[in-house]
C-alpha cells in the first residue's frame, strides 16, 4: 500500500516538524506562498514575522548560538533571497548551523530572467557549507534531511535549500529518511588516541603553557571538559572574541580575551608560552596579528579542531588533532587521570610572570563624573544583570567594550558577529536569544551607527512582546572608524560622524516600547536597574557617552602580539 500524496509545501512543513524546529524566522513572498499557506494550517512550530529578511537569518542564527539547535529561516525568491545573503555569510564565518529555505521561480522559468528570479545557489555558494536546488518534489524530504545533517555535523554552517514554486505545489509521497549516509561527507569525530597522549605529555612537560580556546569550543559544547582540564593542570586560559564564556571569566586562571583588543597579559602569555594548546580556534588575523611576528618566539603548538583545513592554515602546528572538541578534551582528561594521576606540573614562575603582566592593568580606564564612559556602562550592566544576561552586540567599539568588560562565565551567552563583523546584527540577535529563552535577561549592546542598520526590527519586538533591553552607547561617531582615523589617518574623520540622529526615546515609544535617555554617569546604574526591573517591557536605553573614548589595548593591523598600544592614561 502506498502512502497518500501531499504537496511539496506540506512536505517542507512536515520535515521541519520532524526536525523538531520550534521557530521559523521568515518573510512571505510570491515564490513561497504555497509554503506559507501550509504554515497557516499547522501548529508544530511558530513562525516569526520579521521586517527584513536579513533580520530573519540573524535571528535564526542567534537562536542557534543561544541553544545549540539548528536555526531556520524562510525567505522568498529574488530580493528576499539576496536580503538573506548577509545573514548567511555572517553565520558561515562563525560556523553557525542554519537551514535557510528560499523560494525560487518555477522550474520552467529558471534562467528566463523571470520576475524575482536570482541564482540563489550561485550567489550563496561561497558563503554556505552547502546548498541545494530542489528540482523534483520527490527530492524535498531527503534534501531537507541532508540539509539539517550537514548544517549541524562536523564544523557546522549554514545550508541553503532553494525550492522552486511549482515544486511546492506538486504532489509526492512523504517519506522522511531516518538517517543520512553520504559517501562524500563523513566528518571525523574522535581524535587520534596517539596524538592525544602525545599532547597530554607535552602539556605536562611545559614550563610556560597556555590554553587558547575559540568559538569552536562553545559550538562543540565542550566548556565543562575544558574547565576540568584547565583546573587539573592549573594552566592559564585565554578565550578569543568568539570563545568568550568558554571558560569562566571570573576565574583566577582566566587571563582575559586575546587579540587586537585583548588584555596585555593574554597577548604576552600567548606570545611567550612554550607549549600552546589551541581548542576550536583558528589563529586568525585579529587574534595573533602578524603570523611572522608570532613565529619569532618558537613554541610547540597542539591544535584541536573538527575542521582539518583550520589546522596549519596560518600557523604551523606540531600536534594536530582532528576531532570533535568535546570528545577530544574528554579523552585528554581521561588520559590525564589514568596515566598521569600524580603529575603536578609546577609552573609557579610562569604564573609569577603572568601576574606581573596583569599588574599593568591594561583594562583600567579613566572614569569620569562629567561624561558617561562606555566601559562604565558595561561594568554596571554586568553588575545589574549579575553576569547572567545574554549579551548581543553589533560591530565596532561598543562590541569590544562589551567583550572586555562583561565577564562571561557561561558559554552561549555572548552573541556577536566575530568573523564577518556585520553591523546590524545586534537587535535581531537579541530577538533570537529572547525566543530561545523567554524569561532570560537579554541585552543588546549597540552603537548609534549599527542599531540603525536593522532598526526596523523594533516593530517585530513590539509584535511579539520581546522584553529586550537595548544598551545604546551613543557617541555620535562611527567609533571604531573614528578611532582608526585618529590613529592612522591624522584625525581626518572622513564620513565617520553620525549626523541627524533620531530621537531614540521617541522612536522607541512610537513602537510602544519604553525609551530612556541617560546623560550623566551618576544615573547609569539607577537607569539600568529601572530598565531590567521592567521584566515584560522592551526598553531602549540611549546612553550619551564620551565621544573621544578609544578601545585599548590595541594591536595595530599587521603588528605582533607584543606590540600593543596601551591606553593614553598609562
Amino acid at each position: 500500500m502506498t502512502n497518500p500524496t501531499i504537496t511539496g509545501a506540506e512536505i517542507v512543513i512536515r520535515c521541519l516538524n520532524e526536525e523538531k524546529v520550534k521557530f521559523v524566522f521568515g518573510y512571505p513572498g510570491g515564490a513561497v506562498l504555497h509554503i506559507y499557506d501550509e504554515i497557516y494550517k499547522q501548529n508544530g512550530f511558530k513562525h516569526i514575522l520579521v521586517r527584513h529578511e536579513q533580520a530573519a537569518v540573524h535571528a535564526a542564527d542567534a537562536f542557534s548560538r543561544a541553544t545549540g539547535e539548528v536555526g531556520v529561516a524562510l525567505v522568498t525568491s529574488g530580493p528576499g533571497a539576496t536580503n538573506a545573503v548577509t545573514g548567511i555569510a555572517t553565520a558561515y564565518m562563525d560556523s553557525i548551523p542554519l537551514v535557510v529555505i528560499s523560494g525560487q521561480v518555477p522550474v520552467p522559468a529558471i534562467g528566463m530572467d523571470a520576475f524575482q528570479e536570482v541564482d540563489m545557489v550561485g550567489i550563496t555558494r561561497p558563503c554556505v557549507k552547502h546548498n541545494f536546488l530542489v528540482k523534483d518534489v520527490k527530492d524535498i524530504a531527503a534534501t531537507m534531511k541532508k540539509a539539517f545533517y550537514i548544517a549541524a555535523s562536523g564544523r557546522p554552517g549554514p545550508v541553503v535549500v532553494d525550492i522552486p514554486k511549482d515544486i511546492t505545489a506538486h504532489l509526492a509521497e512523504y517519506i522522511y529518511p531516518k538517517s543520512v549516509e553520504m559517501r562524500s561527507y563523513s566528518p571525523v569525530l574522535k581524535g587520534h588516541s596517539g596524538q592525544i597522549k602525545k599532547a597530554v605529555k607535552l602539556l605536562l612537560e611545559a614550563k610556560r603553557p597556555m590554553i587558547y580556546t575559540g568559538g569552536g569550543l562553545v559550538l562543540g559544547d565542550a566548556a565543562p571538559e575544558l574547565v576540568k582540564l584547565a583546573r587539573a593542570l592549573n594552566y592559564p586560559v585565554t578565550n578569543t572574541l568568539m570563545g568568550l564564556g568558554g571558560y569562566p571569566a571570573t576565574d583566577s586562571q582566566f587571563v582575559g580575551m586575546l587579540g587586537m583588543h585583548g588584555s596585555y597579559e593574554a597577548n604576552m602569555a600567548m606570545q611567550n608560552c612554550d607549549v600552546l594548546i589551541a581548542v576550536g580556534a583558528r589563529f586568525d588575523d585579529r587574534v595573533i596579528g602578524n603570523p611572522k611576528h608570532f613565529d619569532v618566539k618558537g613554541r610547540t603548538i597542539i591544535h584541536i579542531d573538527v575542521d582539518p583545513s583550520s589546522i596549519s592554515k596560518r600557523v604551523k602546528v606540531d600536534v594536530p588533532i582532528v576531532g570533535h572538541v568535546q570528545s577530544v578534551l574528554r579523552e585528554m582528561n581521561d588520559v590525564l587521570a589514568a596515566e598521569h594521576a600524580n603529575a603536578k606540573p609546577n609552573i609557579a614562575d610562569w604564573w609569577k610572570q603572568i601576574n606581573e603582566w596583569r599588574a599593568v592593568k591594561s583594562m583600567v580606564y579613566q572614569n569620569s563624573t562629567e561624561v558617561i564612559k562606555p566601559q562604565y556602562v558595561i561594568e554596571k550592566l554586568w553588575e545589574v544583570t549579575k553576569g547572567d544576561a545574554y549579551v548581543t552586540s553589533d560591530v565596532g567599539q561598543h562590541q569590544m567594550w562589551a567583550a572586555q568588560y562583561y565577564k562571561f562565565d557561561k558559554p552561549r551567552r555572548w552573541i556577536n558577529s566575530g568573523g564577518l563583523g556585520t553591523m546590524g546584527v545586534g537587535l535581531p540577535y537579541a530577538m533570537g536569544c529572547q525566543f530561545a529563552d523567554k524569561h532570560a535577561q537579554v541585552a543588546c549592546v549597540t552603537g548609534e551607527g549599527s542599531i540603525q542598520m536593522n532598526i526596523q526590527e523594533l516593530s517585530t519586538c513590539a509584535q511579539y512582546g520581546l522584553p529586550i533591553k537595548v544598551i545604546l552607547l551613543n557617541n555620535r561617531y562611527l567609533g571604531m572608524v573614528r578611532q582608526w582615523q585618529e590613529f592612522f589617518y591624522e584625525n581626518r574623520y572622513s564620513e565617520s560622524y553620525m549626523d541627524s540622529l533620531p530621537d531614540f526615546v521617541k522612536l522607541a515609544e512610537s513602537y510602544g516600547h519604553v525609551g530612556m535617555q541617560i546623560t550623566k554617569p551618576g544615573d547609569v546604574e539607577g537607569a539600568l536597574k529601572e530598565a531590567f526591573a521592567k521584566k515584560d517591557k522592551f526598553v531602549f536605553m540611549d546612553f550619551i557617552t564620551d565621544q573621544d573614548e578609544n578601545v585599548f589595548p590595541m594591536i595595530p593591523n599587521g603588528a605582533g602580539l607584543s606590540e600593543m598600544i596601551l591606553g593614553k592614561e598609562k
Binding site: G122, P126, L133, I150, M182, D307, S309
Partner: protein
C-alpha cells in the same frame, strides 16, 4: 611546484562550479582543469593542474576534501603517476612546409587527422612538457590554431583512485 590533483566527485549539477569557485575565492592557481563522468555515471573524475608551495597545496587538498560533493582527493605527485594531454594543432602546410610538417609530426609521434589544401591538423598526445616541446619546435608563423584538453593523470601500478 606544479601538482596534479585528481578527485572523484558526485556527478551533480553545480559540482564543477564549487571546485572552480573554491580556487578563485581562495586565490589558488589553476593551470588546467578537466572533468568527465567515470564508468560509474554517478561519479565524475576531475584532474586539476595547480602550483604552489607545500603549504598551499596542503590547504588546497584540505579545502577540496571539505566540499560536500567531493568524495576523494589524491595528489598524484605524492607517488608515481602518468600524465597525458591531448592537443590538436592546425598548421600551415604549403609547398616545402608540407613535408616538413609531416616529418615533425612523425618525430613527435603525432597523427595528421585532417588534410586540407593549405593546412594539416595534427593530433598529439603526451605529457604537458612534450606538447610544449612540439609547439616550441614549430615555426610560430606556421601555427594557425591550437587546442589542448588539459592534463589527465592516473597513478602507476596499484595506486588506484576509486571508491
Amino acid at each position: 611546484m606544479k601538482h596534479i590533483i585528481s578527485l572523484l566527485m558526485e556527478n551533480e549539477a553545480g559540482a564543477l562550479s564549487r571546485v572552480a569557485g573554491l580556487f578563485s575565492a581562495r586565490a589558488y592557481n589553476i593551470e588546467s582543469l578537466t572533468v568527465a563522468p567515470t564508468e560509474d555515471p554517478t561519479l565524475s573524475r576531475m584532474t586539476i593542474v595547480t602550483s604552489g608551495s607545500d603549504d598551499v597545496i596542503e590547504q588546497i587538498i584540505k579545502q577540496l576534501n571539505k566540499l560536500i560533493d567531493v568524495v576523494k582527493v589524491l595528489d598524484l605527485n605524492d607517488g608515481k603517476f602518468i600524465e597525458r594531454e591531448l592537443m590538436l594543432v592546425k598548421v600551415k602546410a604549403t609547398g616545402a612546409f608540407r613535408e616538413e610538417m609531416k616529418r615533425m609530426c612523425d618525430i613527435f609521434r603525432g597523427r595528421i587527422i585532417d588534410v586540407a589544401d593549405g593546412s594539416f591538423t595534427i593530433e598529439l598526445t603526451g605529457s604537458g612538457t612534450k606538447l610544449d616541446a612540439f609547439i616550441e619546435s614549430l615555426d610560430k608563423a606556421a601555427i594557425l590554431e591550437t587546442v589542448r584538453t588539459g592534463a589527465s593523470g592516473i597513478g602507476r601500478g596499484d595506486r588506484i583512485l576509486k571508491i
